[in-house]
């Protein structure tokens, strides 16, 4: 009966419309259910979850999982580090991407073609894991914030998106006439480009921020001091460590079930900020994909 309110008034849906609607609802359930299940399992009695009694609604609500996580000092450390890395990494990436994206959008200057090749080539060939690791070691970046935020600081795809945006939105005639009036590229960038480019700043900031928030690999290879671990690394630790525990046959079942409860809660805690912000930021993400798509 819910469907009735969903169609546009005045037009009667055909059989195919209804079929498409049913397929959509099914897809929606398949996609959303795992996320929903994690959420309800994170607040349900772990023994009931284990027994398969929790399907649609939380049962015997308990916040023990969240309490355990909040009591774990690693959570706070992880959150602090993740926020730090996300803020610093995003700021660095955005500044680099905006400045170089603007420069590359300028119609023509000496060496532009070669600089483009220089940038694009990094997309199709790389030194690989070990040479990069050795470089970071030689730079003494191991166990510092630089190990987390520098590799991947400029995403070529983000750079192309930014360049394309400027090419399409900043009038080169305006730049040329501003120059005739003695305006420098710097002034033009600060006074004309930045104030009119809120959208692209939002788009690439969000892309970089999500990447940094969710990233774990740089931290995994370049950090070994646990006080510097981001949240995702603790998430991995908790999941793996308890996995080993749960393989111990002597372990009492309820302990194993409780360990699962903590895992559910940990997944929620680590994913919630991005997922909560995402519906509001959705249009920027989509915008970014569209600008990038123009370039194919």
């Amino acid at each position: 009966m819910k469907v009735k309110t969903l169609w546009i008034k005045g037009k009667r849906p055909s059989g195919t419309d209804l079929l498409f609607g049913i397929i959509s609802v099914l897809l929606l359930l398949i996609v959303a259910y795992p996320l929903y299940f994690v959420l309800i399992a994170s607040v349900s009695d772990p023994d009931l979850t284990y027994a398969g009694k929790v399907y649609f609604l939380p049962k015997k609500i308990t916040f023990e999982g969240y309490r355990t996580i909040l009591a774990d000092p690693r959570t706070l450390v992880g959150y602090y580090n993740t926020v730090l890395y996300t803020a610093a990494g995003t700021a660095l990436s955005v500044v680099l991407t905006l400045t170089s994206g603007f420069a590359l959008s300028i119609r023509e200057f000496f060496g532009k073609k070669w600089i483009n090749i220089y940038v694009i080539f990094t997309m199709i060939f790389s030194g690989g894991l070990v040479p990069t690791y050795l470089l970071m070691k030689n730079l003494h970046a191991i166990n510092t914030i630089w190990g987390v935020i520098l590799p991947g600081a400029v995403g070529v795809w983000n750079l192309i998106v930014t360049r394309t945006f400027f090419e399409e939105n900043i009038s080169m005639e305006l730049l040329e006439s501003a120059q005739l009036d003695g305006c420098s590229y710097f002034k033009f960038f600060v006074h004309i480009v930045l104030p009119t480019s809120g959208v692209i700043v939002a788009v690439i900031s969000l892309f970089y921020a999500v990447n940094q928030w969710n990233g774990f690999f740089n931290a995994l290879i370049y950090l070994n001091d646990k006080n510097k671990f981001p949240l995702q690394l603790f998430l991995r630790e908790i999941l793996l460590q308890q996995e080993m525990m749960s393989m111990d046959p002597d372990l009492v079942n309820s302990v194993r079930h409780r360990a699962n409860l903590v895992k559910y809660a940990m997944i929620v805690v680590a994913s919630a900020p991005v997922l909560a912000a995402y519906p509001f930021a959705q249009r920027f993400f989509i915008k970014g994909v569209m600008i990038g798509a123009v370039k194919g």
Partner: protein
């Protein structure tokens, strides 16, 4: 354009430099970044041809020619790793590619606008979940007591589900399905964007001719997204050898390793855990070269066949 060129010609390089030097200042930090983080490591590739020891460093360790490569080709893991890599990535391409297309076609023709919005938001959402979180979900939900999903699998397999994550045969399927769950919605955006640019006149004309939904999809929508789909298919096939490293790494365990060891995870283990830097760099270089070759070939094909240049 013409005006710009005459101005350019009239001015000497000195005036141009005076005007344009700031462009290079804008570019300098980023170019320096690429130099340090992309080009210097490329120089470090030479350790693949040496026997690297930390004491002697990159430049002084003795040359061993192609010895590291020979060792890899002769090792018993070589065949397993290559076939795992190909199996996982080909499966990912074949099963993963059609889903976003299907989803976009469905969404485009969906009449219930609210449902459409909700479905879009819901299918994009998993793209924003971190890899550790997704793997965590897989690990718990695919083991006994993991809820409806596990019970369904158990029921369909007649109570013999065991622990799917701990078995080699199911590994690639679990990987691919979870990839589809996570990214199909997001990957559909580009097709949806293409479909919204289809002129409404076409649909109207089709309706007058008595075309139904299915005909519209077959004769308007699919032709409209075909070029985009071809480009993406070509691009994705260029990335075959670099499939989902981080996720595979986290999904690995002692029980599924025979099916889950791929080139990139092997490089990681040999190099950063086993500390055999030269051997690992050689395997990494082997992988990079295949990738490079694939992308260049694919780009050529796209240029010739569809007159599309990817870069």
């Amino acid at each position: 354009m013409e005006k710009g060129e005459t101005i350019k010609r009239r001015r000497g390089w000195k005036t141009r430099w005076k005007r344009d030097y700031q462009i290079y200042l804008f570019l300098a930090p980023t170019l320096l970044y690429f130099l340090i983080y992309c080009y210097i490591p490329m120089g470090g590739i030479q350790i693949a041809f040496r026997e690297f020891t930390p004491k002697l460093g990159i430049w002084k360790s003795p040359w061993v020619g192609l010895g590291q490569f020979a060792r890899f080709f002769q090792s018993y893991q070589f065949k397993i790793i290559i076939s795992n890599t190909l199996k996982i990535s080909l499966m990912n391409l074949l099963l993963g590619f059609p889903m976003p297309v299907f989803l976009a076609l469905l969404l485009n023709q969906l009449k219930y606008t609210k449902l459409k919005k909700v479905l879009q938001t819901a299918t994009y959402a998993p793209h924003f979940i971190s890899i550790p979180a997704v793997v965590g979900m897989l690990v718990i939900m695919l083991s006994p007591g993991g809820g409806m999903l596990y019970n369904l699998i158990d029921w369909f397999s007649g109570g013999k589900a065991g622990i799917p994550m701990g078995s080699a045969p199911g590994f690639s399927l679990i990987f691919v399905i979870s990839e589809i769950w996570q990214h199909a919605g997001w990957d559909a955006i580009i097709y949806i964007a293409t479909l919204t640019s289809v002129s409404p006149d076409l649909y109207e004309a089709a309706e007058i001719d008595g075309a139904g939904k299915i005909q519209k999809i077959l004769y308007i929508d699919i032709p409209a997204i075909l070029p985009t789909a071809v480009i993406l298919l070509i691009m994705n096939s260029g990335r075959i050898m670099s499939v989902g490293f981080e996720k595979v790494l986290l999904m690995q365990n002692a029980m599924n390793i025979e099916a889950s060891e791929i080139i990139s995870t092997y490089v990681y283990k040999i190099g950063l855990i086993g500390m055999e830097f030269s051997y690992s760099a050689a395997i990494g270089l082997f992988n990079s070269l295949i990738n490079f070759f694939l992308i260049v070939v694919v780009n050529q094909i796209a240029k010739k066949g569809a007159n599309i240049k990817l870069f």
